[in-house]
């Protein structure tokens, strides 16, 4: 009696644990997939289009850079879609020779927004004091590369900038984000 009870209880213990395990697994697997859904997805979309930022005449060759906002329309953000969404900002200028030059305002160190100091003609980051030349080359600070150049063109008298994001805190060679 006692012995059969012991073996019966051992069986019940094992069966109970096994059933519990199955329930747990049937629940856990979907939940893990659910949590990892956003990984590797463009939950917030941006745009590969060149974005109209300002009148070309506003830029004088050799003058200080101008800060422009990059906004896009039809931007998806998880369930939402909206127009005139700010994607980020850029610094644009014309060089002495009249060439258009645009830099992302995202600091290549850890992503703070960089400022321009006209008195010294340098870009500085308020977060960890990285400093960059007007052409974007790094002068000092923890950033591992210079400022990121953005494509800029002039179409029908309007300056257009193509917005891109790069990997933070890596060298120039590793900064591309493949989509």
């Amino acid at each position: 009696m006692a012995e059969s009870d012991t073996s019966r209880r051992r069986f019940l213990s094992i069966a109970t644990t096994a059933i519990g395990g199955v329930i747990g697994a049937v629940l856990t697997v979907p939940l893990i997939r659910y949590v990892f859904f956003p990984v590797g997805r463009r939950i917030v979309s941006d745009t590969a289009d060149a974005i109209d930022v300002l009148d070309e005449k506003a830029l004088k060759p050799g003058a200080s850079p101008t800060r422009v906002e990059i906004t896009a329309s039809g931007v998806r953000n998880a369930w939402g879609v909206a127009d005139d969404v700010a994607l980020g900002a850029a610094w644009v200028r014309k060089t002495e020779s009249g060439e258009l030059h645009a830099l992302s305002s995202v600091c290549p160190h850890l992503g703070c927004a960089i400022d321009y100091e006209p008195a010294r003609s340098v870009y500085t980051c308020p977060c960890h004091k990285s400093a960059f030349q007007i052409d974007g080359k790094k002068i000092s600070g923890p950033a591992k590369r210079g400022l990121d150049r953005l494509d800029a063109t002039v179409e029908e008298g309007r300056v257009k900038v193509t917005w891109r994001r790069f990997r933070p805190d890596v060298s120039e060679d590793e900064k591309e984000i493949e989509s």
Partner: protein
């Protein structure tokens, strides 16, 4: 592993805690009659888990709630599964709580000294229903929105404090952002806290008093058959949990997840229906009018709650055998039967109401469309309802429905049928074979055109030629050139010849034989035709279609319509709808 656990036990003494939790005597032996409480605890944990995970993607705002739930339902991996478990889990909770209550009542388990077990249980049943009520609104879909409006409306009819009560419940004068944030906070913070508190008390009381074995067994018989909770009772518990869980998962997978209605639309007519467990109350209200309705709506829950709470104090005899407690058992039985009958009646009445069924079908189609659009285009900042405006040619479709549809679609048409495939090759072919048939000009007085008698390649050629006028980019030029020749030979008695660049429209509109076919079906031609189909080179005085000049349609709207008509040419009938219907069953 063993050493790690030893280390842990030395510091925390967890083994004693676990042993104490599991080591309990089940007097009279383990039984499936006792599983309900454990199953409820299990479902509760399931609800907590799925609820927390749902909150990961949910946004409680009037503009985002529906969109975020639609996102969970249709876009997030396994989102439909998690949401379905949570929603069906709520139903399971109500059912199992009901069974738990019945089992306890039949066994007379509420008798002294277990009155407090029963009272905390009844209070928890109230909390479960409060969970259901608040959770129903959170998706901000049509059903949740309208049904909850009825519920808070009922609260608003309470004597004296009704108005304040309603404003507190819905947070303000109208349903909006604050209603959702409030319901959300109640649903995910306040109710769980209260419920956990009561569960702890309920289980502690249960541990203190132990199970209530079946009536009529002697103390000796009970003691001699006592079994330990672990594993004897736990095994039965987990088998019951597994059964309930399997049913939940089965129903969820079989139904493709729980339904989600279209976004809440305060401007719509929607038939508010509560969740099934409130159907009995919903039904009972149909039998009362005016002030009585309010009394019943507010009174019924109070009476039911009062009767349940009072039960242990009314039924005080020592005998737990149901036969000795017939009046009390009868109260429970009559109550349960009444709820059952009313629930069935409510569903039966709905099923028999054809107009209601039709409206429900339409509402379902709206929801399928809204979800498909939300998945494809996203929901604009204005909120759920704005998703309909993301449909391609949204404005044109509305203009079409307002100005064109009654004459160009359906059985009471006054002009040729215009729908998907309008001006496609097959449409043109059908037309040429039967221009004065019912589908085309047969419904008008302009029905003099004879069927084209060409066949085979020659017919193909004329079709291609006419098709080419639309400006489509897939025209076979060679075939169309051949068709042009056939056209010149066969059709120019009535239609103007293409030999000259432009058609001469200086003629008399009353003498005009047939419309010129140059650029027929192109955007520019259609916009101009819509403006005035009676001017040359279209139908002249034979025209029957109303003029849509600026007093009816702006230039822009005419072009929108024309572009829509051109789009119809290569569009298949509602492909999105068919697709969405496949991925969702409800």
């Amino acid at each position: 592993m063993k050493r790690l656990l030893d280390w842990l036990d030395e510091r925390s003494g967890y083994r004693r805690v676990v042993a104490q939790a599991l080591d309990e005597d089940v007097v009279g032996g383990a039984s499936f009659a006792y599983v309900f409480g454990s199953v409820l605890t299990f479902i509760l944990l399931l609800q907590f888990t799925t609820g927390v995970f749902l909150a990961m993607y949910y946004s409680p705002s009037a503009t985002d709630a529906w969109a975020s739930v639609a996102y969970i339902q249709d876009t997030v991996t396994m989102g439909w599964f998690v949401r379905g478990l949570h929603s069906y889990g709520a139903s399971a909770m109500v059912i199992v709580a009901g069974l738990h209550l019945l089992q306890t009542a039949i066994y007379g388990a509420y008798k002294a000294p277990r009155e407090l077990n029963w009272i905390t249980g009844v209070l928890m049943l109230g909390l479960i229903l409060a969970f259901a009520l608040t959770g129903y609104l959170l998706p901000w879909d049509q059903t949740g929105y309208w049904a909850t409006k009825v519920a808070t409306g009922i609260a608003g009819t309470s004597p004296v404090i009704g108005d304040q009560l309603q404003q507190v419940a819905q947070a303000g004068n109208e349903y909006g952002n604050l209603t959702l944030t409030r319901f959300f906070a109640i649903h995910v913070f306040i109710l769980p806290a209260l419920l956990i508190g009561l569960v702890v008390v309920h289980i502690a009381l249960f541990r203190r008093h132990g199970v209530t074995p079946k009536w009529g067994r002697s103390k000796e018989a009970l003691d001699s058959s006592t079994q330990p909770f672990w594993p004897d009772q736990m095994f039965r518990d987990i088998v019951a949990m597994a059964v309930v869980f399997a049913i939940l998962v089965g129903v969820n997978v079989y139904s493709g997840g729980v339904k989600l209605d279209g976004p809440a639309d305060p401007a719509s007519n929607f038939d508010a229906r509560p969740e099934w467990y409130f159907r009995a109350l919903f039904q009972v209200l149909k039998y009362f009018e005016g002030a009585m309705e309010h009394v019943v709506a507010l009174g019924t829950p109070v009476v039911v709650g009062g009767v349940l709470l009072g039960l242990p104090f009314a039924d005080r005899g020592a005998d737990r055998n149901p036969r000795g407690r017939l009046p009390f058992i009868a109260v429970i039985a009559v109550g349960a039967t009444l709820v059952g009958v009313l629930t069935v009646l409510s569903f039966r009445e709905d099923a028999a109401d054809e107009r209601l069924q039709k409206r429900l079908t339409e509402a379902h189609e709206q929801s399928v469309k809204a979800r498909a659009l939300a998945k494809e285009h996203g929901v604009p900042p204005a909120g759920g309802r704005a998703v309909f405006a993301t449909e391609p040619y949204y404005r044109a479709r509305n203009l079409w429905a307002e100005h064109c549809q009654s004459c160009h679609q359906g059985d009471e048409r006054k002009g040729p049928e215009i729908t998907y495939g309008y001006n496609s090759r097959s449409w043109i072919r059908d037309f040429l074979k039967d221009p004065s048939g019912q589908r085309f000009f047969g419904v008008t007085e302009i029905n003099e055109m004879e069927p084209v008698e060409l066949t085979g390649v020659e017919l193909d050629a004329v079709v291609e030629f006419v098709y080419g006028q639309t400006g489509a980019d897939d025209v076979n030029g060679e075939l169309a050139a051949k068709g042009k020749q056939l056209f010149e030979d066969n059709c120019t008695d009535c239609h103007s010849s293409f030999e000259s660049e432009e058609v001469d429209i200086s003629g008399d509109p009353s003498e005009w034989a047939a419309p010129d076919l140059r650029r027929r079906g192109s955007v520019d031609m259609l916009a101009s035709f819509i403006r005035d189909a009676g001017k040359l080179p279209y139908f002249g005085d034979k025209n029957e279609m109303p003029v849509f000049d600026r007093s009816k349609l702006s230039e822009n709207d005419r072009y929108l319509l024309a572009e829509y008509l051109v789009w119809l040419r290569s569009a298949a009938p509602e492909p999105r709808d068919a697709q969405a219907a496949q991925t969702t069953t409800r």
